[in-house]
């Protein structure tokens, strides 16, 4: 398409609207109380290559968990396995429902929502249509076959929350990258996901946008279960409630940001120095002074 995007000035507005989020999150908290993600002995094997090797992971409601690790650690693969995109064995339960073996759309209906590394919105549909589709998985045939006469209130609230109300009638394809990511988060909100799996949600965003996104995720995380796959260590330090470090398909370390940063095995993995992965059990000798450097990777 030949249109010039800059004229539309997608960044002409402010950004996210935390107040509008309150109406999205107005649902009684009791609904979410028993939600937690419990992964036991998850294994994903592609053609003999073990991408995820016996991962145990528990994320409770109200947590904002970050998954980090070097490339190939299996972060995205775990998200794929939870959502039925990668063939998995073991057990993944959310809110007491077993997810392994279910087709993707049923997993979603169990309350699991995800985003992708590359924002994948429906480029040719408008922002409003994108959100409306996300809100509609439970609609009956009669509603589906009619026009949308009024904008559903949850869609309206989500539009305000992710700061896209002024571009609601533009095709999503013309949005700036950061706005697409926000649209994806908005779609998760309206689809009423209780477990949100976000794959690099702030990639390509400006510093100010990262800040806003982080605060938004924190607020959502107070009510729901949120798992973020992220490379940006600064973002992680600012907003993570807890961190799980993965390495070569296994959980290497888990805890608060400070605990993980102090873990010598994490330091070794991130500094690498040629022994990448081979010294998994023998890392106690790792030099302590290097500990702060663990977090400098991206800076």
């Amino acid at each position: 398409m030949s249109e010039q995007v800059p004229d539309i000035a997608p960044d002409a507005t402010g950004g996210l609207d935390p107040e509008a989020l309150e109406s999205v999150l107005a649902a009684p908290g009791a609904r979410f109380r028993h939600d937690y993600l419990e992964i036991r002995d998850l294994r994903v094997v592609f053609d003999g290559f073990v991408a995820v090797d016996g991962v145990d992971l528990t994320v409770t409601q109200g947590d904002l968990r970050f998954l980090i690790g070097p490339n190939g650690a299996g972060k995205t693969t775990i998200v794929d396995a939870i959502t039925g995109l990668a063939p998995a064995t073991g057990s993944v339960q959310f809110g007491g429902v077993e997810l392994v073996g279910k087709p993707s759309h049923r997993i979603v209906r169990a309350g699991v929502g995800r985003t992708f590394q590359t924002a994948s919105v429906f480029d040719e549909l408008t922002v409003l249509q994108n959100l409306d589709i996300a809100a509609g998985a439970g609609r009956g045939p009669l509603t589906m076959l009619r026009r949308r006469h009024v904008v559903p209130p949850e869609v309206e609230a989500a539009l305000e929350t992710v700061g896209l109300a002024h571009v609601r009638d533009l095709p999503a394809g013309v949005l700036a990258h950061g706005q697409k990511q926000w649209l994806e988060i908005g779609m998760l909100l309206v689809q009423d996901a209780r477990l949100l799996l976000l794959d690099e949600p702030v990639a390509g965003m400006s510093q100010a946008e990262r800040e806003e996104t982080g605060l938004l995720l924190q607020r959502i995380g107070e009510q729901r279960t949120v798992v973020v796959v992220e490379h940006d260590m600064e973002f992680l330090r600012a907003f993570a409630a807890s961190v799980t470090v993965l390495h070569q398909g296994r959980v290497l370390s888990e805890g608060t940001v400070a605990q993980v940063q102090a873990d010598p095995r994490v330091v070794e993995v991130y500094l690498g120095s040629g022994t990448h992965g081979r010294g998994r059990g023998t890392s106690a000798a790792s030099p302590q002074p290097a500990a702060p450097a663990a977090s400098t990777e991206v800076e």
Binding site: M1, S2, E3, D7, I8, A9, A12, T13, G14, T83, L85, P103, S104, H105, V108, R109, G113, R114, F116, S120, V121, F122, D123, E124, L125, T126, Q129, N130, D132, I133, A134, G136, A137, G138, R139, T143, M144, L145, R146, R147, R148, A165, H166, V167, R168, D169, L170, P171, V174, M187, Q191
Partner: protein
Amino acid sequence: MTGATDVTGTTDVTGTASATSTTWWRRPSARVWGGVAVAAVVLFGLAPALLSDFRLNLLAKFLCLAMVAVGIGLAWGRGGMLVLGQGVFFGIGGYLMAMHMKLADAGPGGVPDFMLLYGDGVVPGWWEPFRDPVVTVLAILLLPAGVATLLGLAVFRRRVRGAYFAILSQALAAAFAILLVGQQKVTGGTNGLNGFRSFFGFDLADPVNKRMLYFIAAGVLIAMVVVVRLLMHSRYGELLVAVRDQENRVRFLGYDPANVKVVAYAVAACFAGIGGALFAPVVGIISPADVGVIPSIGFLVGVAIGGRATLLGPVLGAVAVSWAETGLSEQFPSFWTYFQGALFILVVAFLPQGFASLGGLWRRRRGASDGASTDPSAGTHPPADAPGPDAPAPDAPDADASRTAGRHA
């Protein structure tokens, strides 16, 4: 005729979107009914007045083919399913109607003539129900859609798509034609079923009844276009486009894309079946040559040339291509095939969204020169925190009709 259809084309194909404007004639419902009125005037007023009985009957035939095209526009243009085997559903509809007409001509308990000629003169059991006109009409409406639903569920659940689906549907058309040829005793073989004398009790030799057939075809076609228009603008229509462009993403919103596609596929099959059912009495014959691979591709060519993702592109394309085919083959026999091939190549190379996209291009050109006289996003939304003058957005809200053409071939 062609001039008149062009008028409907420019008024409706290009402007289905801007629901935001307040002028009454721009409102979507006004546009639909305006389009229906124009189409009715052309098809029920102008065409019968201007065309000879022979030409009118030809037009009726083209309208039957256009019914298939309307369905293809929905399934292919909007749903991204390259349906290369619509001849199967066209054939099911056509043969069902033809069987009924043969049985009715033979009289109660009678045997169709060709069965006496090729077979043992016994009407097979599965023919018998179609002596009843009600059963026949119900079967025409339900059987193609039912077959498409079963087939679609089997195919789309296994995530067969793209070229694989196209090849599969085409193979089906080939198999169907071969089956018809092979079962000469019950299907008439290569000759198909022909020589119908009456249509639900009306004598087909009477020009008045022929004319009535044309009116039926015209009315049915208009109804189909309205149905597709309603579907396109429903929530389902939006979802269908979403499935076409990002099938996996839709899955992660909690929908099963297979079900979404099956609906469009079944509607397309139903339309093709109805088209076939009217084709048989209009043309007076239905044979394997009307349902195989070549006619199945022929259905598609008109849709591609007209503009597959638009509302009227498929209809106008199908009628225009059939019209040109007849006209040119009268002038230069054996030349038409080359012309059709060349036109197809030109359209695919230079106008991938078909002739209907010309209207959109022209509008965009004009909109660009008009500048930012209208600001749709601000107009719709006074309370939104004013995007201000730096958001002209020439024609951005038209994420619709001619623009939403998809990436799938």
